[in-house]
């Protein structure tokens, strides 16, 4: 039961709310709300105001969820909002769903793909894209649809190659419509 868990442990069966700032941290290694919001701002230029009204939670080591509401802390449920970020590792990794949801107005580390490249990316293929002169690491891959740029998902850019991280379950969706 959650009642038996000491407050300084990370417990895999419940969602624990992130501390507001690093100074409020009780559980070792748990990122703060401020650090998570700063990460989206620094990496992709996502306006911190986008996350006003959101609460942030950890379930299992390093898996961070964003929830657009208020619930009691801790809470023992199967899901709480959206998995947005994997932390407790050297390079934090954003999720496909979060990039689609929050990076529509991203200003940094967005790589625009041609129609053919977008299709290959969504099919899960890695591709050589030497034109990128920005940072290495996790990028928002985007393409133009209905006249505007729209995020497709997360690409890992290393040594001139863009690796697709689109999950298998999402790859099939390009051909499914019923």
């Amino acid at each position: 039961m959650s009642d038996d868990t000491a407050p300084d442990e990370n417990w895999g069966q419940q969602f624990d709310r992130l501390p507001p700032t690093a100074d409020d941290r009780v559980v070792e290694g748990r990122p703060s709300r401020e650090e998570v919001i700063d990460w989206w701002d620094e990496r992709f230029g996502v306006d911190p105001a986008v996350f006003d009204g959101y609460t942030f939670w950890e379930k299992g080591a390093g898996k961070i969820w964003a929830f657009h509401g208020e619930v009691v802390d801790p809470i023992e449920v199967e899901g709480l909002g959206m998995r947005i970020l994997r932390t407790r590792q050297r390079h934090w990794k954003p999720s496909t769903n979060a990039v689609q949801r929050f990076c529509g107005d991203a200003t940094k580390n967005v790589i625009e793909l041609s129609p053919g490249e977008a299709k290959a990316f969504v099919d899960g293929h890695d591709q050589q894209l030497d034109r990128w002169e920005g940072d290495w690491g996790y990028l928002t891959a985007a393409h133009e649809i209905a006249g505007e740029l729209e995020p497709l998902g997360v690409g890992l850019y290393l040594h001139g190659e863009l690796r697709s991280t689109v999950p298998k379950g999402r790859q099939e969706e390009l051909v499914k419509l019923d």
Binding site: I75, G81, K119, A146, R170
Partner: protein, 313 residues
């Protein structure tokens, strides 16, 4: 026996009813306004060469002229969700508002849940519950693809749904609550209304199943009323024509819980019939006529039943 024969005395036009039940249903998608606008989704479909026609009663619900096997970017982006046209009704009757606390008792795979999230502007507390863990993973997948961030996924038996995880026993604690503003009971049922999509439901139909599922429906609707605050709304819906699973369930719960059936605003241009008060020797509370029945020949959809209840204490 074809169970649809039972309902012939209820419909206004028997021939049209049986003829509609034979025809396959068109593919229908709902535009997900959490991730895009109706105009942009339609522009994207136009660009892909996917032919569609908006429904008469809802600009964001589009009938596809044929299922497109080609690439479909708007679907990939979570701008569209396949949802049977008539199944958009319960969320409309529920009328959820941003910031409210809402419980969807039988949520998986999540078409109605995600529609509710969009109507809440993806803000507040939407609890999507299902007793089947396998189906819950479909709910999670759909919700994440559609960009929903106000959903709490829960795995309980709705008949004895516990409010304990939400802080019922610690009312002073931030974020805790004991009751919902609105609850949707889209109940498991015998599903004859989906026969245009899945004709097997007619072969599998038995009276024994109707009786057993009615017990579950009563239990879920009672619990829904109990955990809704006074003045709050409970919507009860099924995709069956069986009065035993529709008006009889309302009648049972009206006698035992503090609630009443109220009218709800059916969209203009969508034809419905009132709930019935007599069936095979049983009589139901007169207020069940405020519930709405949808027959397949009315609007060229599946069959459906939707009732709106107001909780009185």
């Amino acid at each position: 026996m074809n169970p649809l024969q039972r309902y012939a005395p209820l419909v206004d036009d028997e021939e049209a009813f049986f003829a509609a039940c034979e025809r396959p249903l068109p593919s229908v998608v709902r535009v997900n306004t959490i991730k895009t606008t109706v105009a942009r989704a339609r522009e994207a479909l136009d660009d892909e060469g996917v032919a569609y026609e908006p429904t008469d009663w809802h600009p964001g619900i589009l009938k596809l002229e044929d299922s497109s096997p080609g690439t479909n970017w708007p679907y990939f982006h979570g701008w569209l969700h396949g949802q049977e046209e008539v199944s958009a009704l319960p969320a409309i009757a529920l009328d959820p508002q941003p910031g409210e606390r809402v419980w969807d008792t039988c949520a998986a795979p999540g078409s109605k849940t995600t529609q509710i999230a969009a109507m809440m502007d993806d803000e507040g507390v939407l609890v999507g519950n299902d007793n089947n863990l396998g189906r819950l993973s479909a709910l999670r997948h759909n919700a994440e693809r559609l960009g929903v961030t106000n959903l709490v996924v829960s795995n309980q038996d709705a008949r004895n749904f516990s409010m304990k995880p939400f802080g019922e026993r610690t009312p002073g604690k931030a974020g805790s609550f004991e009751q919902f503003d609105r609850v949707l009971v889209d109940a498991p049922c015998s599903c004859e209304g989906t026969c245009r999509k899945n004709p097997d439901v007619l072969d599998e139909w038995t009276m024994n199943h109707v009786k057993s599922v009615a017990g579950i429906q009563k239990g879920i609707l009672r619990r829904a009323v109990q955990v809704t605050k006074a003045g709050g709304t409970v919507v009860y819906s099924t995709c069956t024509f069986a009065p035993e699973e529709n008006e009889a369930i309302l009648d049972f719960v009206l006698e035992r819980e503090d609630c009443e059936v109220v009218e709800w605003d059916v969209p203009d241009g969508f034809e419905t019939a009132p709930g019935i008060t007599e069936w095979e020797g049983d009589e139901y509370d007169p207020s069940v006529t405020k519930a709405r029945r949808v027959y397949p020949h009315h609007n060229d959809t599946g069959g459906f039943f939707t009732a709106k209840l107001e909780v009185t204490a």
